[in-house]
């Protein structure tokens, strides 16, 4: 993306677009745009992903700056949580007369 040796003939770099649907909400990934720089990426993302007031804030991130966990490692990567079901609140028998728990 940062290689600008021959900018004239190159496709614009790819940016991933994250949109916050309303104030207070998480930003969520909605798609991507091509743009030569961050400023135009933001404008393109606005035109492509918020034509009907779908968002209050946009993040654009160079696609190649994102590191993803690998689907092949999915099981071993996430298995530390597999045997810790006690982290959920579902298994605790409490006195029936107690309130607010």
């Amino acid at each position: 993306m940062t290689d600008t040796s021959k900018p004239e003939n190159k496709e614009w770099p790819l940016w991933e677009v994250f949109l916050q649907p309303k104030s207070g909400a998480h930003h969520a990934h909605v798609g991507s745009v091509h743009a030569p720089d961050a400023e135009i990426a933001l404008q393109n993302a606005r035109d492509v992903y918020t034509r009907r007031q779908e968002g209050t804030c946009i993040w654009v991130v160079p696609a190649e700056a994102i590191t993803s966990s690998q689907p092949d490692d999915e099981n071993s990567f996430f298995d530390p949580a597999d045997d810790k079901i006690y982290r959920h609140p579902n298994f605790y028998t409490l006195p029936s007369e107690v309130k607010g728990l």
């Binding site: 190159k10 496709e11 745009v33 035109d47 492509v48 690998q70 689907p71 092949d72």
Partner: protein, 326 residues
């Protein structure tokens, strides 16, 4: 053991591995899981998806041309802003799908190049001319109507990025469909000449609209694979029947006559029977011999060429600012 035998054993092991991967892949799909871009997938799956998604994206982009033809001549300011917004949506839809297809490892430039060279196809429907204002109505009502039936199905497909793009698109298509129908409704309530214009438009767009849902099942070579992989959830003929069943009563409300003498309600099937489709016309149009194929492709190539200086200027500006900052 000689080297050759070792090689054979090696090859056999590889084949078995591949077969196992394919079986696991199919099992995931059968369980209703979504496939994401970085997941392992058979090469044929990737190829078919790229073909189908790029074709779909190209259709959105080329689809701006027939309607773009009427923006400057829309009969009122309201109609003009509606049509402008619709055409902008089509550009957006093209971009959603291109970005989904890019996750499969093909670049946007490659896809555009395939469109411009004629290697990649786009929907047959956009090779028909828009001769009157009523055609803006017929396109929104029939072409977008057919697209909705198709895309609602694809929204449930097994490839995550395609499915998500379709969900977004389907939300926006209802506006297209209604604005089209309302254009025709206004004409049908108008003077006899206006109603005639609406009828003429339906006469010209009906058959191309039901053809655009694709060849009949027996002539649809990719359908079987696509349905196994849940890229396509229902066959072309099933979707076509659904489109016809929902559209015929809408034509009745307009007081327009669908140009098919064999069209009639079948009480037993709870569906409409319809006449023979002229598939020769469909394949001619797909293969470049429709009334507008040359113009459409030329318009795309010109747009690419005439916009080049903008892309170059933006790149040069970015490069210059980076140098200044350094």
């Amino acid at each position: 053991m000689c080297n050759f035998e070792l090689l054979l054993i090696n090859e056999k092991a590889k084949m078995e591995d591949l077969q196992k991967l394919e079986e696991e892949f199919q099992a995931r799909i059968d369980r209703g899981e979504k496939i994401e871009p970085k997941d392992w997938m058979p090469e044929r799956f990737r190829k078919q998806l790229i073909r189908m998604m790029s074709q779909h994206a190209h259709s959105e982009i080329v689809g701006m041309l027939p309607e773009g033809n009427w923006i400057t001549r829309a009969p009122s300011l309201q109609r003009k802003v509606n049509l402008l917004a619709k055409v902008q949506d089509e550009a957006g839809h093209g971009l959603y799908i291109y970005c989904g297809a890019e996750t499969l490892g093909i670049s946007r430039d490659e896809m555009i190049e395939q469109l411009h060279s004629g290697k990649a196809k786009y929907s047959s429907i956009f090779n028909y001319p828009t001769l009157s204002w009523a055609d803006m109505g017929a396109i929104g009502w029939l072409v977008d109507g057919a697209a909705i039936v198709n895309q609602t199905m694809i929204a449930k497909c097994a490839f995550g990025p395609y499915s998500r793009a379709m969900i977004r698109i389907c939300k926006e298509e209802n506006f297209h469909n209604k604005q089209g129908y309302q254009i025709l409704w206004a004409l049908c309530k108008g003077t006899p000449e206006q109603k005639e214009m609406a009828q003429d438009s339906l006469d010209r767009w009906w058959w191309p609209s039901i053809m655009m849902l694709g060849p009949t099942d027996k002539d649809s070579p990719n359908s079987k694979d696509l349905m196994n992989w849940k890229i396509k959830m229902q066959s072309n003929d099933t979707i076509r029947q659904r489109f016809i069943d929902r559209t015929v009563p809408q034509a009745e409300v307009l007081g327009l006559k669908i140009p098919d003498p064999d069209l009639k309600w079948n009480e037993e099937r709870r569906s409409y029977d319809f006449g023979e489709i002229d598939w020769e016309e469909f394949f001619n149009v797909i293969n470049g011999k429709g009334p507008m194929n040359k113009e459409r492709l030329q318009a795309r190539r010109d747009a690419e060429k005439n916009g080049r200086w903008v892309r170059e200027a933006a790149n040069t500006y970015y490069k210059k600012r980076k140098e200044q900052a350094a």
